[in-house]
Homo-oligomer: 320 residues x 2
Amino acid sequence: MLAEYQHFIAVDWGTSHLRAYLCLAKANEPLTVLEQANNLGVKKIETDFETTLMDSIAPWALRFGKLPILMIGQIGSSIGWKETQYLTCPISPTEVITAGTRFDSQGHQVIIFPGLSCQLYNQLHDSMRGEEFHLLGWLAMAPQHLIGRHLVCLPGTHTKWVLIEEGKIVLFKTALTGELYDLLSSNSVLIQEKVSDLEFDFAAFIQGADFILSSAHDNFYHGLFSVRSKQLFEGYSTKQAHAYLSGLLIGCDVRAAMGAQEWQLTELASVAIIGPPHLSQCFIEVLHHCDVRTTLWDVTEATLTGFNVVYQHALQSTHD
Amino acid sequence: MLAEYQHFIAVDWGTSHLRAYLCLAKANEPLTVLEQANNLGVKKIETDFETTLMDSIAPWALRFGKLPILMIGQIGSSIGWKETQYLTCPISPTEVITAGTRFDSQGHQVIIFPGLSCQLYNQLHDSMRGEEFHLLGWLAMAPQHLIGRHLVCLPGTHTKWVLIEEGKIVLFKTALTGELYDLLSSNSVLIQEKVSDLEFDFAAFIQGADFILSSAHDNFYHGLFSVRSKQLFEGYSTKQAHAYLSGLLIGCDVRAAMGAQEWQLTELASVAIIGPPHLSQCFIEVLHHCDVRTTLWDVTEATLTGFNVVYQHALQSTHD
């Protein structure tokens, strides 16, 4: 039983990053995070999944022995460790609580939670793994969103735009924005050198977003090369080129969301952004540029609240 | 003097590939290519440029001694060996003949020819290196195109769409189509395994192109993820996913060319395709789907004809 433990380990293991949290849980209280550990994402691990996980949690296992490990994200996908199901939308995110895949890993009780799938208006399918927990936590943090129609944007390696109605996730759309940025800024002909993450040229970012938002739709595809030509012919520095590329990609992502037939973005009061601070700020700037209001939520807080909802459920179950 | 030599080496050294040809030239005759050698492109070389070149031509240097080496492509760019200028459009491609940068490499006389640049209607700049030689050769092979207005498509790592009027290159637009395909099929979450180049699923390719051409403009950005979701939910094989991705990307490239304000594609009699056979065929299928007629030209033949125009000019100069 999970509830035998006061401590547990929460793991958000996505495509690009593993983020593990040593948590202290008490009935009817928020989680306390005692420590955090980071490691490589599902697409980037150098050994196997079990070794990577055990390396990440080794100091905690040494102190607390065997602990329950709750995992979400791509780790449960076809490119992950154990493939878990996709639950079908529309669905309340609370339904993931009881649908995890349980197994033992070196004596630790592991649960990998399922993802969600939906079918879009154009018949294509979409899927998420991990974001359903962020949404679970967000709805617990801000339960006023259990009523009415809301659009949530979760920026990251794969941006998710999620339509929520009366507390149910109705459908969602994925954009590869973060992954495209990584691929194009590290491996393409567009940019030759890396820059420090600290150096972000906001003016060049806005130029990139402006170019997309003010030009014909197909200009993205034949305009991407301008990341290079601005360095060759307009004296752009590498730092400016990185930010301009980010502006092009986030501009396209927002424009696609503005045009999505699945929701009428301009009819919604605001878009809730749940993401890391810097990336969220970039999306907010572009959305404000399009006269769309936003509310901002911290992704780590939402995720941990999601884990707490699950753990509180386990504690409740014990006392029933 | 170049013309002292009957043999010379022609090198098309692009981002992804080095292609070297041992050529036999005679006044007023087509080139004879005696041998071909391939090596790594400018973005991919493992040692330095000089070593890579000398390795590629070593057997020919052994037999013929020092030979002139004529080079085109990204090797003359800011990420190449010696940066050569960009000549400004509108320009006749014959103007590149006398504008090469000459230097000595281990006793071989090397000439790297310049690229071209242009400014588009949206004020962005664009640039090419190598394709100006393909166009030089094509205009020599098919001089009827020296009169009138023509659109040429050169598929490759970077697709170039080139507007030619009265034998001059007026302007052109670049799309990263081939590079995006390589990045997304090898390094992204969309596809997990490589497939043999021989296995191309044409039906899946057409599905990808159809999806783009029949859907709203912004569906590309939020539709790219369908390469993965079709494998998860519609039973697509890896082979189908590769071809579908290719269809999405080439569909976008063609649609952007259809919408370009720099030319009215539907008012042109046909589009001339100069590329490698498989890739050209893909572009032709999508263009025909859009009711655009095409003519097909072999890129190697066009390139070598371009080199022959240069060499014939050198021979003429000697006899003047």
